[in-house]
Symmetry: C2
Subunit: 209 residues, 2 copies
């Protein structure tokens, strides 16, 4: 479980504001998650998510005090970009990044909940599809949806995926899932808070790519 | 025709050796070709090809005299990498790059030759598929082939594609195709020479991704 548990997300303060630095420190461990999926087909996804993170980090690094929380980034960019906001800067990068995070959240939750295709118990297509439907499908045009459908065939077996998540340790499936659940606690709170913020600040867009 | 004609490839010497510097100078104008295809679906392809070029350029820049021709690069790397060669360094990057170049070559040639789907005269799927079959299919596993098939649906209309190739100039279709034919002369000789070199040096691999 090198990948997940070693990089727990931090709990949030009562204000539910997400501090930028710890968020970036945790989230940068997620792109390797896509290597667990085991196929080069996922490289463009990893690249897209890494690009989002790089963009947010560049803004943060330019003035760590000013951009102490994610909310401060959105507020500052809203004044700077005017009518181009929210389709600009770190606001846009985080808008897409949160969708990738939601994808991961739903997929892991679905695994933890024991969702399974009884006819193919060792496939995770049902969990991936649930995550895709919940997090991304509506932002993808029909061609990208078709590409997704093809790429889904490259998804690893459930057993291989859990083994990859537990990289370097011999753990049972139940132990692995227990750690996934533990990881999901702060992770889900963080993702939910970011979604909440986009809604509150009217920063969400629903164009498709 | 800003894209193509302004960046003609150079003729080759009698030895058919490809000089690295002019090759890199010309080939770096090709990734934008994929922007002509008009969809973000092609971004990962553009990134892959750009990555190949960057890798070859880095080797060349490390010692321009030593790596004066592409052949010199392969010869030098063959000694350095031992049994890991040819799946290493600029040799690997050029192995894949030449397949992308062959794709472009076949596709443009097919357009220039007037290959058309009589039932869908304004589609270029038939030209793209011909190029894919000739240049790439055998190096792709069935999942990537399926992704290709989905991505093909994002291909632009023939008229839009030709217009994009002629960017910034009002030219007739016939004028555009004439310039494509002119571009293809040195381009094809160059691509053919690189393929020839890989065969002669026994540097070709046929693993799939
Ligand atoms: C030879 C054959 C070749 C065929 C090639 C076909 C290639 C097909 C390419 C598929 C697309 C790859 C994924 C990337 C999709 C991206 O297009 C979208 C939007 O991406 C955003 O776009 C913004 C502008 O609108 C900004 O540039 C953002 O960038 S900014 O930082 O600059 O602001 C950027 O993230 N991101 C997304 O949809 C996010 C995707 C997250 C994915 C989450 C997990 C999914 C797991 C799936 C498991 C099965
Ligand atoms: C949310 C939904 C998400 C779903 C995401 C699915 C994404 C699907 C991804 C599709 C793949 C994108 C294209 C890239 C394919 C690449 O995998 C291959 C091999 O790439 C090579 O691999 C080597 C190692 O084996 C080295 O790393 C090379 O790198 S090195 O420089 O380091 O040595 C590298 O180029 N290149 C290729 O196949 C070359 C492709 C050329 C394409 C030419 C034009 C095709 C036009 C098609 C028009 C229709």
């Amino acid at each position: 479980m090198a990948l997940l548990l070693d990089n727990q997300f931090s709990p949030l303060p009562n204000t539910s504001e997400v501090a930028t630095k710890p968020f970036l420190d945790s989230v940068c461990h997620l792109p390797p998650f896509f290597d667990c999926l085991g196929s080069k087909v996922f490289a463009p996804i990893k690249a897209d998510i890494s690009g989002n993170i790089t963009k947010i980090k560049a803004v943060y690094d330019s003035d760590p005090a000013k951009y102490e929380t994610l909310q401060k980034i959105l507020e500052a960019e809203r004044s700077v970009y005017g009518s181009n906001w929210p389709k600009a800067g770190a606001t846009l990068a985080l808008m897409w990044l949160k969708r990738g995070l939601r994808f991961v959240q739903i997929m892991l939750q679905s695994l933890a909940d024991g969702d399974r295709d009884e006819n193919n118990p060792n496939l995770i297509r049902v969990n991936i599809t649930k995550a895709y439907d919940g997090a991304l499908r509506r932002y993808h045009g029909w061609i990208v949806q078709k590409v997704f459908k093809a790429a889904l065939l490259a998804a690893p077996y459930r057993s291989d995926f859990l083994k990859a998540l537990s990289k370097g340790q011999a753990v049972t499936e139940e132990e692995c899932l227990a750690k996934v659940r533990q990881f999901l606690v702060n992770f889900s709170v963080t993702v939910d808070a970011i979604y909440e913020m986009y809604t509150t600040m009217n920063a969400e867009l629903d164009y498709t790519v």
